[in-house]
Symmetry: C2
């Protein structure tokens, strides 16, 4: 069967999710899950410690904030990380017939909490939709927040197979792509690909903040990229990194060893050792999968100077459209003093020349 | 007087730069300087250890690769970092009437090299255009590479004032904005805002590369941002960080101390200390100057789902243009499995609602 996902106009083939579903916690992620389910026709209830938050979510299409019926089939725990374990235990106890999942970014701790509480965890299947946002709260939620994103489903040997199927269906109904992972493997993976980069970005941004203000006038796009995620909510990230402390400790040790190796190589003026560290970094960037999960495509970059005014980007992309190139990524460089910008457009390497020709022919100042 | 800069259609008011100018090293930066000067009507010569590189630059509009006349007024040293000191000494000796500058990203070492060689350094004024690029070589050069960028001019008490004026004119003729800085201050500033972020990105990317490949399926935009600059040329960056080793050692120590503090806070499950480190990171990102050097503008983000096909961005920006919003930045999220993408558009916070309305009215799936 085919399900419409939110307002996206996209249709997903897959198993139906049977309600009623209760979403506990109506912030960005919980609110968005409830909106996606409601717009897919699933009977959905939301609750939140703060009834105003639940009410705002409902007003945005998240279902109902009335008392849920006893026959809830699925509970989605979407509380802040510190409260996930307790909420999972509570859901397993309150709804003995329901499947229980959560959407937090660390998976070992809620399971350990539930096991420590002595409840049967076969109906609990952890999940983790990768829909990061620097925003939070119910006003930021959207039915299509998960469309096209990965949603890790943490399958354990002691899970009820039907519970696993239900949680996979939840991810698909929200428009996400299911990625099966084991508990510890998931937590190590997010430590490496998300939590460690966040901490490193925070430390680098912290070093920036300790410098004299005049130094920051030399900030270019590189340091902005490296530190961007460090702007995320400290109270939320504190809970995430503490919940994943065991996975992070080893990785932080790896980075500290790398720093020690760098400091000693710099002291020795050992060019070979410094370059080896930099080459390992290049290899790491090459290892990140390309768009759509395939191997990284060879990309080229076209740089265009544009006036800093409304409509300039529209004109640029209208002109670029005639070259029939598919833009893979782009960046706008923030200039320190002038009223125009530089746009860097990443496209398949073999489309660089046609795009450049097309833009130059339309009078743009563009170069490789 | 008014000078046309490259093909950009921009005109710069400022002092004229009188040639002949000799650019030593015809790679990305040297070639681009020579092209900017030539297109501004300044008599320009380029040389390179590899005559083919010089020839390619000349074929792209970098002036002449003939033997320069004896009356060279300005020598711009644009060699790889390891060779800047020797090339500055050579230029000061060969052209006793010329001003000498360089374009390398570290300023203490070339000066120390020149002083150690016993030459008169009053005609040497170091410079540093901030036009980073992951590309290199003469084919990547462009007359407008520096338009809108900062160009640090390192003024010393022992500099001939006319030499300082000449180097400032060079920066302006290339379309850049002059930022005056002292030698050690400059090197500390770039260590903090460029070289440290590069090394941290390289270490983080290196940690990624050591993980199992399946973990990288969870890579989102955050880790891509943090590690992007780690893809830069290791041979070039090895020279840069070694030349700035003294400034970097202290900063690397700061990051190592931060890691030690994090590891111990995680071991103690000390939420307050972890959150303090994260808050320092937020403060650091807030300290980076906003666009055009002014205070950071409050920005909001609009997220739009677009089909992954040629022309989709063009249609999006054509529609966005009608809302008369000025796009400050944008990102395209690479999806793990689906054939469409998410575009995140950063605009002034008070323009979020009008843009959202305009896009929804045109049938886009957009949310905050």
């Amino acid at each position: 069967m085919t399900i419409d996902v939110g307002d996206s106009g996209l249709q997903i083939d897959g198993p139906v999710l049977v309600g009623p579903v209760l979403v506990v916690g109506a912030g960005l992620i919980g609110g968005s899950v409830a909106m996606a389910l409601t717009s897919a026709g699933v009977e959905t209830y939301v609750s939140d410690l703060d009834p105003v938050v639940a009410h705002v979510a409902v007003s945005r299409g998240a279902g109902s904030d009335a008392e849920p019926p006893d026959n809830v089939r699925l509970v989605v725990v979407a509380t802040p990380p510190d409260h996930v374990g307790a909420a999972v235990v509570n859901a397993l106890t309150t709804y003995p017939g329901a499947v229980v999942t959560d959407v937090s970014s660390v998976k070992a701790q809620p399971l350990a909490d539930a096991q420590a509480a002595g409840v049967d965890v076969s109906r609990y299947v952890g999940g983790h939709p990768l829909a990061g946002s620097e925003r939070s709260g119910p006003l930021a939620s959207a039915a299509d927040l998960f469309v096209g994103r990965a949603w890790a489903v943490v399958v354990r040997d002691d899970c009820d197979p039907e519970a696993v199927t239900t949680v996979r269906s939840l991810a698909r109904v929200c428009g996400a792509t299911v990625v099966d992972m084991a508990t510890d493997d998931h937590d190590l993976a997010v430590a490496r690909t998300s939590h460690l980069p966040h901490l490193v970005a925070a430390l680098t941004a912290g070093a920036l903040g300790r410098g004299p203000e005049r130094h920051l006038a030399l900030s270019g796009q590189g340091v902005r990229d490296v530190t961007r995620i460090a702007a995320g909510d400290p109270a939320l990230w504190r809970q995430i990194v503490l919940a994943n402390a065991d996975s992070l400790t080893g990785l932080l040790g790896e980075v500290r060893d790398g720093i020690d190796e760098l400091v000693s190589s710099l002291a020795d003026r050992d060019a070979g050792r410094v370059e080896a560290i930099l080459r390992a970094g290049v290899a790491g960037t090459d290892a990140i999968p390309g768009k759509h999960g395939g191997p990284a495509m060879p990309l080229g970059t076209v740089r265009v100077a544009i006036p800093d005014e409304p409509g300039a980007l529209a004109r640029l992309f209208a002109d670029a459209g005639d070259a029939q190139v598919n833009i893979e990524d782009l960046r706008i460089d923030h200039d320190p003093a002038r009223q125009f910008g530089l746009v860097e457009i990443d496209i398949a390497a073999d489309r660089v020349a046609p795009l450049l020709d097309a833009l130059l022919a339309r009078g743009w100042s563009a170069h490789r």
